[in-house]
Subunit: 324 residues, 2 copies
Amino acid sequence: MSTATVSRALASPDQVSPELRARVQAAVAKLGYTPNAAARQLRIKRSRTALVVTRRRWSAPFFAEVLRGLDEEFSAAGYAMVLGNVDEDGGERSRQLVDMMFSGTIDGAVLLSGRVAAADGRTMFEAGLPLVSLCAAIEGTHTILTDEGECIARGARELLRLGHRNFLYLPGPSDNYNEQVRWAALAEVFASASTDATVSRAEQCDFSLAAGVAAARDFLSMKQRPTAVIAVSDENAIGFLQTVQEAGVGVPHDVSVLGFDGIEFADFCRPTLSTIRQPRLELGRAGARILLKAIESGPPLSLSREILPNELQFRGSTGPVCET
Amino acid sequence: MSTATVSRALASPDQVSPELRARVQAAVAKLGYTPNAAARQLRIKRSRTALVVTRRRWSAPFFAEVLRGLDEEFSAAGYAMVLGNVDEDGGERSRQLVDMMFSGTIDGAVLLSGRVAAADGRTMFEAGLPLVSLCAAIEGTHTILTDEGECIARGARELLRLGHRNFLYLPGPSDNYNEQVRWAALAEVFASASTDATVSRAEQCDFSLAAGVAAARDFLSMKQRPTAVIAVSDENAIGFLQTVQEAGVGVPHDVSVLGFDGIEFADFCRPTLSTIRQPRLELGRAGARILLKAIESGPPLSLSREILPNELQFRGSTGPVCET
DNA sequence: TTGTATGCGTTATCAT
DNA sequence: ATGATAACGCATACAA
């Protein structure tokens, strides 16, 4: 029985005689043989491995769910998933990731990082592998976004309808894609001539709980407090919410709060946090599926661009403005 | 210039003449050459890749931080990290993970799953690769634990000292290692003759927010309510805390609540959640370091066992029992 | 249907 | 110090 025979019996069971197939399977089971992955990769030039690039900045509850979606699809397709964090660009870590793209260890990458890593004058692009970008528009990649701008605008309009006129926005880092989209959409709502409402931006700007707390402190010291707060993340909103309530401010009586993401903790606040729920699991699944398709179909025929719907959920933390 | 020369110039720069080294480096930079990883792996029988096995059950905020610690150390050592989820054992996913151990794709594994995956009568063990188990004692692996039993016992004793006599414990799944350790430690405290205090167990048992809420509902319907609640996770504790407060129960006035893990959200509850803070980042770092050492030192000389200290933090949600 | 032989891109051994 | 060469374990083209 030659090695070629075994290889075939394992890789294409339907191309060998049933008798041989059985014999091979028996031997494999008995000896505990597992084909060597490196040799196979070397031969077929495929690793059945996807790279997932992340950034610390992401909130853990959001990220974990996206990751689960990715894992589900990749593992169902028999792909392994290697994880890589890049926090700053251009460092040693970026080099590692770029090298992975060129060394044949991976067949493609999903970017949760918002940018394409670069090092030594090379970028992830030049490796010619398919790239999928999640939650950020990156030229040259398959992109999956959500309708975050529309949703936050819808949320703002709903709050306007509830009578709010003085808004506070808790922003994310200004170089962040999602922050930019959300703020732009929000600014447009308020720029539209049909309203005299105004929105101010809090100074703190990241996605953390701490930023929400800091913003709440500023809020508390204002003479003319906004009645509606729109946050770039649920963490922001929750930090804000807890802090102002601690200081005796009623939610939603004195101030309405709208978060973003729909993490699980938002369901368990008091009051439950109104939020814009992102399809976290589906983002991961869709991202993996697109990448797998791109890998299996060889040359990049055309770059896909998909927009998944968020869900605006007005719950306990938002209500009509109260005259007092 | 032969391939061997290039290989040497890249792998051991100090073993070739400076002139050649420069020439190779120039050519590499110019051509954008990256050595093929599969061929290298095939030759040296090392992949510089670690497998990290997880389970859905873990709380995202806890898990994300451990993962960060792992990533830091692995990437610093030039190792890639592949992630694999196993939820049930014995399925297709387990087979994949076991196969990875035998196919040479990885050099070792860190288990956050509490168990060694098995499939087709083979376990991860038999591959002979180093295994590190985090937060669970698994025979035959390098193990890193925390002093969770001691800490929860200390927490209970502190609550006893504050005058509490009627305790409620919110348990995790009974097949979970951490649940077992924590409950055993707790039970021992109450079994000790020096106290007449009693502890009952809530029926709900997983680490989720929802389980905490369900336990709170039961709590609210009790005629003789416990005055101290010890939860197996911060999520449990937070779900409980929010729900009983919603129903008008004062914390810590009417009931003291102690969580477990020290996730970030615990810092932002109202009141701040008393908890047992686990060294999440350090767990990840230590796990990676141990695995790397085991990989590089070849044959398993002896299995290490390390116990990291938790930190018992009594904060807003716990206080002396109030006679009313 | 099965076996034989070659090459994938490295690294290590050996000779120069 | 460098070059030639074999071998790693698999998949495939081709021969039988």
